[in-house]
Amino acid sequence: MAINLKVNGVAQSVDVDPEEPLLYVLREEFGLNGVKFGCGLQQCGTCFILADGEATPTCVRTCESFEHMDILTIEGLANDDRLHPLQETFFEEQAAQCGYCLNGMLIAGLALLKKNSKPTEDEIRTALDKVICRCGTHTRFIRAVKKASENNSKF
């Protein structure tokens, strides 16, 4: 069945099972790598995207339910060769070890900054709390979000 999705600003129709969770469609039909399978239970944030500005897990919700929504993935953040300010601070802070949770942390941080460009540390911690990180990179993620908010006022 044809499902119409708008991913990173481009509308595209894909022929998939409408019940298929968006995660698999983004990886297989759109060739994206940022969204990852972590738990399939909406517990870990690894599969986060921004759907109409909200950090949203994609491992359970059907692709059909995302029709008519603005889907943003980390592949859509950079502007030509210029990294998005939050990507920039994640790199500057070297906020990754294995990097598997990076997608979730970036999206969770970005969803917060889009609503509140000057969050407190508690607000940052609360926003990132939805994402599981096992390497213990937590404090670097917090720092990267904070730094981006200090350097920019609009996201």
Partner: protein, 740 residues
């Protein structure tokens, strides 16, 4: 959008080329630059199998276009080893980092460096690469010198370009002209003086992070080979379950399903799309009935059973008359500590790809050891290792022996039943949680005697523990699914490794020390988890030191210093005092401070840590506020890499220590997901600070596991300081505190 498609095509193209021919070993896929895997084909020197560790070519290669390729048998596990090893090579070779590539473990071309474990990579592979790079530099400079008939010392090198007298100029690449060096690493090449280091010792950023933030392909999970299909394995509900009935035909009739495999109690599905495989797996789960063999030893019996049913006690270190010595000491103390089963808990469930072509097998794996994987697969399939190629790729952080090897073997088993196309197998969340081998539960009994002045005179340790390594090393029975086949492979636990008593012997200056280990065959599957026994042993040892310091009425840092001889150990404690302004710390009634120290394995990095715990007596709760660590890992290759690894170790250990314990009952493991096995998330993460003592003149020491044990004890000691209640059984839960 166009960009993604292009990248995807490129990725498919470059990775797909690997499948052109098994024996061609094309470089296109393997010539991975740090920028990621989605690169255009790399026209370098031809790839060739590893021909021995003593050849320069086994570690450092030059192409014709001005690149340096470094080969290592070690894997990138998120510890930043690629960057660190490239720094070492670039430094000795006198080239810039941005022209360096690195190839990780691949049985087709790299050295056999065993497992990437025990914090050995910089000490081992780093040393080999450093020697080879120094040798390569000497070889190339010598070649230029003899061509120009000048002295090597009169030549100047800048980024691989050699400048000589009378404006003569050549480069490494011109000199080698795309050929191999075909020269040996003699070990006589001179290393650079650390004082001249420009790259080693610098916080060079990991370029792979720049790719990851943009969603570039990086993980084995992201590998998409031409004609690839997807698989899932249906693991039994518990360790020794047997299939009573299943319904293969119904699953085979589902959309996209290509094949359902049953081999004894091993069940798997293959489908065209990943989600079709997931749905088929769910259906198979519903349609399969199992006979479950109950787990005999339940959690409440575990520690008693350890003492009752452990095999003969091994005397690791003896000191005749020690009991007498303890008895005669003015101050005596005895305590027992407990550690539960812990999980690696990788964020991404394990994933691997495999493909059979006639009699040849290729496996793309997140394993920590491609060569051990290769020999164990050879055992599984009864074939020659020369027909198996294992290519290591980054996985989700593993922190030891997680599901990576099992998933690789399972992908190979499935691929055998469905040959000629690449099979991508990823585990589901409960596969990883329930089937990975855990860090063993442990029980540690300590007894010591001390003089009035606080000098420890005698120290007696007894450990009860299951094995800390069941890594596959040639016996297929170490793969869980090999045990489930129609013709099952037997699992032989084999010799218990020294991992159980890692760091059990105190580094402190104690004249009488005894160490006994009782090997226990416990109810859950166990293997190597970051630090192995060191985590439990240091938790016990450093908690006990705290108890002794309190009895001796000496400040816990001073107490440790008084009992130490090693100046580097004393130095990390002194730096901790300075960095935390320890002696002027504010004595608040609601804050507890705890310190701990260890030299990892008694042979690697030195680490001291101060934990600050905020206590809320009214609400009977505490919160880990801050951890400050000091690390001496000898020569520091990359300070930010060292800090990142150490911070990570500290936070991970805080999570183990405060929250974690694998739950199970007679029907199997109950910790199946992040709700039933919660780990530390950002809200409760402590502030962390890491300070380095860099010793450029010393050899670099393994550091990745240094923080695990000390952090556990420091938190327990801080909880005691804040509550006057000593918790000796992990995790350190608020309900275990005796609130007064």
């Amino acid at each position: 959008m166009d960009n993604f498609k292009t990248d995807r095509r490129n990725f498919l193209k470059t990775t797909g080329q690997l499948l052109i021919g098994f024996n061609l070993f094309p470089l296109t896929f393997c010539g991975i630059k740090e920028e990621g895997y989605a690169i255009s084909p790399y026209e370098g020197i031809p790839e060739r199998p590893h021909l021995g560790r003593n050849l320069i070519d086994s570690w450092i290669r030059l192409d014709t276009d001005g690149h340096v390729t470094i080969l290592t048998g070690k894997q990138e596990l998120g510890q930043g080893i690629r960057t660190a090893l490239m720094q070492i090579a670039a430094e000795e070779l006198d080239v810039n980092m941005d022209i360096c590539h690195i190839i990780n473990g691949d049985t087709g071309q790299t050295a056999n460096e065993g497992y990437t474990a025990g914090s050995n990579s910089v000490e081992g592979s780093g040393k080999a690469i450093r020697e080879a790079a120094a040798e390569a530099r000497e070889f190339l400079v010598g070649k230029a010198a003899s061509e120009w008939d000048v002295e090597a010392k009169d030549l100047r090198i800048e980024n691989g370009v050699i400048y000589g007298p009378q404006d003569r100029k050549t480069s490494y690449w011109e000199l080698l002209d795309g050929n191999f060096y075909e020269a040996k690493v003699t070990g006589n090449a001179k290393f650079k003086d650390p004082k001249e280091h420009q790259i080693v010792g610098k916080a060079i950023p990991r370029e792979d992070i720049k790719n990851m933030v943009q969603g570039a392909a990086h993980f084995v999970h992201d590998l998409r080979l031409a004609n690839m299909v997807h698989a899932r394995v249906l693991h039994p509900p518990s360790y020794s379950s047997k299939i009573i009935k299943t319904d293969i035909a119904s699953v085979n009739a589902m959309p996209g399903v290509l094949k359902t495999i049953q081999d004894g109690n091993f069940l798997a599905v293959i489908a065209k799309r990943e989600y079709q495989a997931v749905k088929a797996w769910q259906k198979l789960k519903e349609l399969t009935e199992w006979e479950i063999e109950s787990i005999k030893i339940l959690p409440e019996q575990l520690f008693d059973d350890m003492k009752k049913s452990s095999k003969a006690t091994e005397l690791v270190e003896d000191s005749p008359g020690i009991i007498q010595k303890i008895r005669q000491s003015p101050i005596k103390l005895k305590s027992t500590y407990y550690k539960p089963y812990h999980m690696h808990g990788s964020t991404g469930p394990s994933c691997a790809l495999a493909q059979w072509n006639s009699s040849e097998l290729t496996v793309w794996s997140p394993t920590q050891g491609v060569y051990p994987l290769q020999i164990t697969l050879a055992d599984l399939f009864g074939m020659d290792t020369k027909n198996i190629r294992c290519i290591g790729m980054p996985g989700s952080g593993c922190y030891g022996h997680n599901g990576a090897d099992d998933v690789s073997a399972e992908a190979a088993l499935i691929a055998k039943a469905y040959p000629e196309v690449p099979i991508r197998l990823q585990w589901m969340r409960d596969d990883e949680h329930m089937w990975e081998p855990y860090g063993s539960a442990m029980q540690i009994e300590l007894e010591a005697g001390m003089d009035q002045g606080g000098l420890v005179l005698a120290w007696d340790t007894q450990i009860w523990s299951d094995t800390h390594s069941t890594r596959p090393r040639g016996d297929a029975g170490h793969y869980i699914s090999a045990r489930h086949l129609e013709k099952p492979f037997e699992f032989k636990k084999g010799n218990f490794s020294g991992g159980a008593y890692r760091n059990a012997t105190p580094l402190y200056n104690i004249s009488s020390k005894r160490l006994r280990l009782s090997n226990y065959d416990g109810p859950l599957r166990t293997s190597a988890l970051r630090g192995l026994g060191a985590y439990g042993n240091i938790f016990a040892l450093e908690s006990f030191m705290d108890e002794l310091a309190i009895l001796a009425e000496v400040d816990p840092i001073e107490f440790r210093k008084n009992n130490l001889d090693d100046p580097r150990a004393i130095a990390v404690l002194e730096k901790l005092i300075k960095e935390t302004d320890y002696h002027n710390r504010i004595q608040k009634s609601n804050t507890g401070y705890g310190v701990a120290f260890a030299k990892y394995k008694n042979s690697a990095a030195y680490f001291a840590v101060l934990a600050e715990v905020e206590v809320d007596k009214e609400n009977k709760s505490f919160h880990l506020q801050k951890l400050t660590g000091v690390i001496d890992a000898g020569q520091c290759i990359n300070p930010d890499g060292l800090i990142n690894q150490t911070e990570g170790g500290m936070i991970q250990s805080a999570s183990w220590t405060l929250l974690e314990e694998v739950k199970y009952d007679k029907n199997g493991v109950l910790s199946k997901d992040w709700n039933s096995y919660p780990i530390l998330r950002t809200k409760k993460t402590p502030e962390v600070a890491v300070h380095i003592i860099n010793r450029p003149e010393e050899k670099p020491l393994g550091a990745g596991e240094a923080a695990q044990g000390p952090v556990a004890a420091a938190i327990a000691n801080a909880v005691f300081d804040g509550t006057r209640s000593r918790i000796r059984d992990l995790p350190l839960k608020e309900e275990k505190v005796e609130w007064s």
